[in-house]
């Protein structure tokens, strides 16, 4: 195997994140009284610079491959990295006061978020099975630690344990599949695997490996029937962690799917399509039906995630670049919505009180009409009502389905979206029409208020003018 000097400049986002992990780690040591303020500010700065670096290094031009074929720099990597870093920045914008009130405010929280973002970036430009797996482990390990962040909480520890065991199981599935793919293609590089799949060598063995890999990916997504961990983990984790867990890692899971199954095993599309259809329909049905009966809003949002993942898979089923662009748009816009919804729960909570039941949303309009408006926008967006970003996300996915000739799936998806409208509107009923006998004043400080206003504004703005983001997602696939 010959060695070429890698083009280090192409990996600028990862190198920057890796350096800043060390800087934050050291800086936090000298900030004992500051409650992790330096770590927080440095992390936000790092994430914003990562968004900029992702575009300045990867955007435009043809795909370049370096690090001996293990690292790919293309438009898709730019969008995925910018989206995951941006979503991480939004979600930790909510976290400080929530963590302080629960005496969880430590610099390690931000450090773990930073390492998770590094893992997501690595996955976004992985071009080798080994690198893909390393990125996934970086992400998963930091998420396990984040879910267990509140050691005093029994539900938190239980959720972390469940997440860890099921996550390890899914990693095992993925690795087994990868080893079979490696065995049949004779190489870890996705380019070589693509060539081997096109040449039709050992096709059955490769499909065998692909099945296990798809199961592993579905676990990481939380698509039914591999969704069991989602409700418990969402409910048990501290809400600041749930906000992060529910937004950016979905983009990373999409990166895993796109790199491994769409790019590397694109030739096996006719084989994984039927499995993806089962995953999509199952997720839509289970997510929407189980969300109907939840009274805990974190759990409800957990099941709603499952249903959104189902919708996202519908975009992937078509196997066309239009479909992938629709799925990418869906993942980004869902990330924005989920960040806002969990941010809202964080803001309504206060010391010694978690606003995690739907009843806790009662009379929000009387307490603060601005918050109620943001909640309205978020729930409308999740339902898919025009004027919000959620509408265009669903619309693009349905369009790609109809173009692929899968009209029955599109009809099914719309039916489930209508069922889903019930539980989103139930939250709005509590917000606008129910009365709270003893309304407590809202204690949220200025910083998170600005973030939630910006988050709600983004949902509305992208809903009214979605062209820029749509173009970005289409350009990521060369459309």
């Amino acid at each position: 195997m010959t060695f070429e000097m890698p083009q280090f400049a192409l990996a600028a986002p990862e190198i920057w994140l890796g350096i800043m992990v060390c800087v934050v780690l050291i800086a936090d040591l000298f900030d004992r009284g500051g409650e992790g303020r330096i770590a927080f500010l440095l992390t936000q700065l790092t994430l914003l610079v990562t968004v900029w670096l992702a575009f300045s290094t990867h955007w435009g031009g043809a795909a370049q491959i370096t690090f001996n074929g293990m690292y790919v720099s293309d438009n898709l990597a730019a969008v995925l990295k910018a989206a995951s870093a941006g979503l991480a920045a939004i979600t930790i914008g909510y976290s400080r006061d929530y963590l302080r009130q629960r005496e969880l405010l430590r610099g390690e929280f931000y450090l773990l978020v930073l390492i998770a973002t590094l893992g997501m970036s690595v996955m976004a430009s992985a071009s080798s099975l080994l690198v893909l797996y390393m990125g996934l482990e970086l992400l998963s390990l930091s998420l396990y630690a984040l879910v267990a962040f509140n050691r005093e909480s029994r539900v938190g520890s239980e959720a972390a344990m469940k997440y860890f065991v099921l996550g390890a199981l899914s990693s095992g599935m993925l690795l087994y599949g990868m080893s079979m793919i490696y065995g049949s293609a004779g190489s870890l590089l996705l380019g070589d695997i693509m060539a081997a799949a096109a040449a039709g060598e050992n096709r059955l063995l490769m499909a065998f490996g692909m099945t296990f890999a798809l199961v592993g990916v579905a676990f990481k997504f939380g698509a039914a029937p591999f969704h069991m961990w989602i409700p418990d983990v969402y409910q048990g984790a501290p809400t600041a962690v749930t906000a992060f867990l529910g937004s950016a890692p979905k983009v990373a899971a999409l990166a895993l799917f796109l790199r491994l199954l769409a790019e590397g095993l694109g030739d096996l599309h006719d084989q994984w399509q039927i499995m993806a259809i089962i995953l999509a329909v199952g997720s839509l049905a289970i997510g929407n039906l189980f969300a109907l009966v939840q009274t805990n809003i974190k759990r409800m949002l957990g099941y709603s995630t499952v249903s959104h993942i189902g919708f996202l898979f519908l975009g992937l089923i078509a196997g066309s670049n239009e479909g992938y662009a629709a799925a990418l748009f869906y993942a980004i816009s869902y990330g924005i919505m989920a960040a806002g919804a969990f941010g809202m729960i964080i803001l309504l909570s206060r010391r010694g009180f978690e606003a995690e039941m739907i009843d806790d949303m009662r009379g929000l309009n009387d307490r603060h009409s601005g918050f109620a408006l943001v909640m309205l926008l978020l729930m409308f967006s999740m339902t898919g009502i025009p004027g919000t970003v959620g509408f265009y996300a669903k619309w693009m996915v349905l369009q790609s389905l109809v173009e692929a000739g899968l009209v029955w799936l599109a009809v099914l998806a719309v039916i489930f979206a209508v069922i889903g409208a019930f539980y989103y509107l139930r939250v709005l009923k509590a917000v606008y029409f129910d009365r709270d006998e003893a309304p407590a004043p809202l204690e949220a400080p200025l910083g998170p208020r600005v973030v939630i206003a910006a988050n709600g504004g983004l949902v509305l703005l992208l809903g009214l003018f979605p062209d820029a983001l749509i173009e970005l997602c289409r350009a990521a696939f060369g459309l």
């Binding site: 060695f3 890796g18 001996n68 293990m70 390690e108 773990l112 080994l130 004779g186 059955l204 065998f208």
Partner: protein, 204 residues
């Protein structure tokens, strides 16, 4: 021929040991079975001429990791019977799913389309040019595989941070020495002079 016999003997021991890891009632026996499993798999690697990996497995896992693991298992008082609740209840369903999965996998791998012999041939070709295992690893580890290698370093850093964060805590109520305070202490801090009335004074 003799290689095949050695392979099957070690593979059988490996499977047996791996089964014992999850079925042994005593956690210490489980840990010891795991040592045996590592040992036999290192023997299998030696058989495949991956000498360095085989020796590293024994040195790192058997020598260091498993010894620590055994200590931890011996220190903890694990109530196994509680852990095993529900094991028998879910066994039939679990076994059924397992058997179906194994059958499906065998059907795929055993079909005529999958030519496993061709795969081993390509793997053997790759290693034919250079027979020195350590030299091959040394040539690629910091060059071709430098990117995953550095990522592995960050995974280890993450493991350290997460483990310390989850286990290290400031406990209230523990008594610990403050040496400098002990040294700096003065007589007035420790010694209190009390004037006691004596019997003689009372008498007069």
């Amino acid at each position: 021929m003799i290689e095949k016999v050695i392979f099957y003997v070690f593979a059988a021991i490996l499977l047996l040991a791996a089964t014992l890891v999850i079925t042994a009632r005593n956690p210490v026996h489980s840990a010891l079975s795991l040592v045996l499993a590592f040992f036999t798999s290192s023997a299998l690697w030696l058989l495949a001429e991956a000498e360095f990996l085989g020796i590293a497995l024994v040195l790192v896992y058997v020598g260091a990791v498993m010894v620590l693991f055994l200590f931890v298992v011996m220190m903890l008082d694990i109530n196994v019977s509680v852990l095993r609740e529900g094991f028998a209840r879910y066994l039939p369903l679990g076994a059924l799913v397992g058997v179906v999965m194994v059958l499906q996998m065998l059907l795929v791998l055993g079909s005529a389309e999958v030519d496993l012999a061709s795969l081993t041939a390509t793997a053997a070709d790759a290693g034919a040019a250079e027979t020195n295992n350590i030299r091959m690893l040394g040539n690629v580890l910091y060059t071709v595989y430098v990117y995953p290698f550095e990522l592995a370093a960050i995974v280890l850093l993450l493991a350290i941070i997460a483990a310390i964060m989850l286990t290290h805590r400031r406990r209230g109520g523990t008594k610990h020495q403050d040496i400098s305070a002990q040294v700096r202490t003065r007589k007035e801090d420790r010694l209190r002079m009390v004037r006691m009335p004596t019997d003689r004074n009372n008498d007069s």
